[in-house]
Amino acid sequence: MSTDTTIKGSLGVPMKRKEDPRFIQGKGNYVDDLSFPGMLYMALVRSPYPHAEIAGIDISEAMKVPGVVAVITGKDLEAAGLGWLPTFHGLDKQMVLAIGKVLFQYQEVAAVFAESRGAAADGAEAVQVDYNPLPVVADPFTSKKDEVLLRPDREAKTNHIYHWEVGDRDRTDQALQASEKRIRQRMWFPRCHPAPLEPCGCVAQFDKMGRLHFHVTSQAPHVYRTAVSLVTGIPEDKIHVISPDIGGGFGNKVPVYPGYVCAIVGALKIGRPVKWIESRTENLTSTGFARDYHMDVEIGAKADGTVTALKVSTTADHGAFDAAADPSKYPAGMFGIVTGSYTFPTAHAEVDAFFTNKAPGGIAYRCSFRVTEASFAIERGMDILADELGMDPVELRRKNFVKKEQFPFPSVLGFTYDSGDYHKTLEVALEKIGYQALLKEQAEKRAKGELMGIGISTFTEVVGAGPSKHFDILGIKMFDSAEIRIHPTGSGIVRTGAKSQGQGHETTWAQIVAEELGLDPQNILVEEGDTDTAPYGLGTYASRSTPTAGAALAMAARRVRERARKIAAHLLEVGEGDVEWKDYKFQVKGVPAKSVTMKEVAFAAYTNMGQNEPGLEATQYYDPPNMTFPHGAYIAVVDVDRDTGEVKVRRFLAVDDCGTIINPMIVEGQVHGGLTEGFAIAFMQEIQYDKDGNNLNTNFTDYLVPTSLETPHWETAHTVTPSPHHPIGAKGVGESPNVGSPAAFVNAVVDALSPLGVRHIEMPVTRDKVWRAIRDAEAKKGQS
């Protein structure tokens, strides 16, 4: 019997990431690392026009380019019934290659297949496309007028895609009318792009039996398999999707892109493997962008600061196709979280989305389906209200927070918040940052005319989609899954329907299983991304892996443990009811000396199982009963140079509550990464289009990714309020820092400028915008 006393818990341990030696040494295996005999390269011809009729496409010169093997156009695909691709929520379709006209600049027009990457590029350059330019609709407000119909292919002859609303409009309007104090602010969350360092790409290959092996940068490999089957008609058993190592996804690698379909068609038509890898420009100009929400935010309150109503009306720019991969019942995603951490007695939110001549998308960039926009709206709105009331924004928040004892809290817009302790998280943040001392310093500086700002954001997220009664992609419910096999020597392999793109699943999944089974996480292999071996799942995005696949994994481990208990009883020669799991091993109740480890049970499962079923494995599919609701309190401290408009983020503290923490080091890494993205969004990133529909941010000279030089030092801390319905109480953290931080940054800048009378400033908060705001405010003061 066991004398092993060395087994320790694995949950909450800052274990180094098991995958990192591979990545640090350049030994990762990415799609572009793959090479197969006879492989061709594909390049796409893209439209320089944002809106134009295609009068003709001449491929004859391209076919003369040495090495070019074939060229396909929209007409070829249309003839094969592959002209259009359904978008993920099934409410629209997207051209694979342009048919009849192009609808955005850099839209895919033709695909060229060649012996080398260079020949493919030369071939693409030689394709002659005759365009007749059409009037361009470059913003949703012009689109709204319906003067130029962008999508005559649709039944509804309008650019208006949908109207979505939640809450009680009349009651909210009345409450706003009756409010003692009321604020209203238009705020735009600009179009930005997650710009993962590895762009999108794939290799399509049919084997001798006609089976498709599709290596692709996908955050949701199983959904791709089903989607490819639905689009191409290839039976799903003849499709094998493999997502190897992925260099960042952030939602950019959720949708199925036209390039993937072209590569598959090319491989099928030519009979050779086809590789397609996007350029940086292609990634920034044609794949899933983020946000582009114009929000009118109104808040009503009593004179003492008690909030009475919230109303948010949004105009959304979805680009040329409605390709935002939202669940089908939620065209505006989880925007209903816009009441945030506060107890509004009534609220109303509505979103109207429009087509424009811009790239399609909208919900990428670590945002869990529009939660970032919603959080920005409420957290900025609360600061503006505090300014109107002449009240400390901290005090206003404290006054209106949902209280700890109110959980599970039914929000007025329909969510049931699982758990939280907003007051505590804020108090931890205030103490750690030294809020009172900062206020004193700020008062002194203001007296001297210096501009110092403190920005607070106390956000609540909704993540982990999601319960099958509400959430689906292409009709597939958003459950997830896990499978565990324990080997005779006590090591094991774990597979889930999620797919890490840098989140560290190889480590955290091993820790969950090791914790539940008393095994060594170093000997738990995690494998994801191969649809031939992994159980069906909906992938990794929207902070859903830990809430769904992580939950499935803990439950699968508990199933393994129940099977192991029977074998343990056999080994301990007692009845199953006399065996208890304690201190990470099985022991006879009341006789701690009589025990067996999971390692010993595993060996017995293959060598000495008695009357029990041999082997030790389990599979679990998990349909979460609710979403999880991580929250946080973020504080930014900035100094603004009055003469140049330069903003220096002096300090930034993020106190997150993501429930149970599996690996604090990985959580800290996630928070650092997300804060850096939030910082970039707040201060430097925007995909701009001019009025003619030209994309002006097509490369890393014009679309900025912060380096360590610009990035502030991040301070982090945690409170832990476990989720009551998650098997280990975890909530997910991947998106919190990107969701919560933009408002903290902007609130800090506006706070710094508030003595000048500035009440709002749009992102990205660039130096020139700040300088202009200061100049205009000073001019206004001078006049008055």
């Binding site: 011809v45 893209r46 320089p48 026009y49 944002p50 600049q105 850099y106 693409a124 350059e125 365009y131 330019p133 420009t281 001019d690 003619d692 529909g693 030209n694 994309n695 002006l696 941010n697 097509t698 490369n699 000279t701 014009d702």
Partner: protein, 151 residues
Amino acid sequence: MNLQYSGEETITADKATVWKFINDPEQVGRCLPDVVDVTVHDPTHFDAVAKVGVGPVRGNFKFKFELQPSAAGDRMDMKITGGGFGSAIDLTAGADVIEAGQGTTKLNWSGQAVARGPVAAVGGRVLDAQAQKLISQTFANVRERLSAASG
């Protein structure tokens, strides 16, 4: 990206000579700066290939020209469409042909360019100067060639 330019060239040649020159596609095509090849289709249509460098975008751009001479013989408009490297450039240029005395002729020209695609985005900072050069150099070349021929 919309760009507008104008200028004036005084040519040492009489109006009839200038008018004849600017109605000849082969001659006009050869006045394009850094021209590589000119293919004439008919008296008012020709294609030209020119070397273009805008920031990091460098290579051959193909342009289609359409000459639109006025019936009165005192104004020439040109429609130029083309591009390369996934970019499109649409130019319109026009010149009033004015008798200026002492055997000279004035070309009062103006033009505008619309650029789309990587050229507009990547070369945005330098495109203005490049497009100006393209148009102004073309008219300067017209002057030089004609002046040289008459001199």
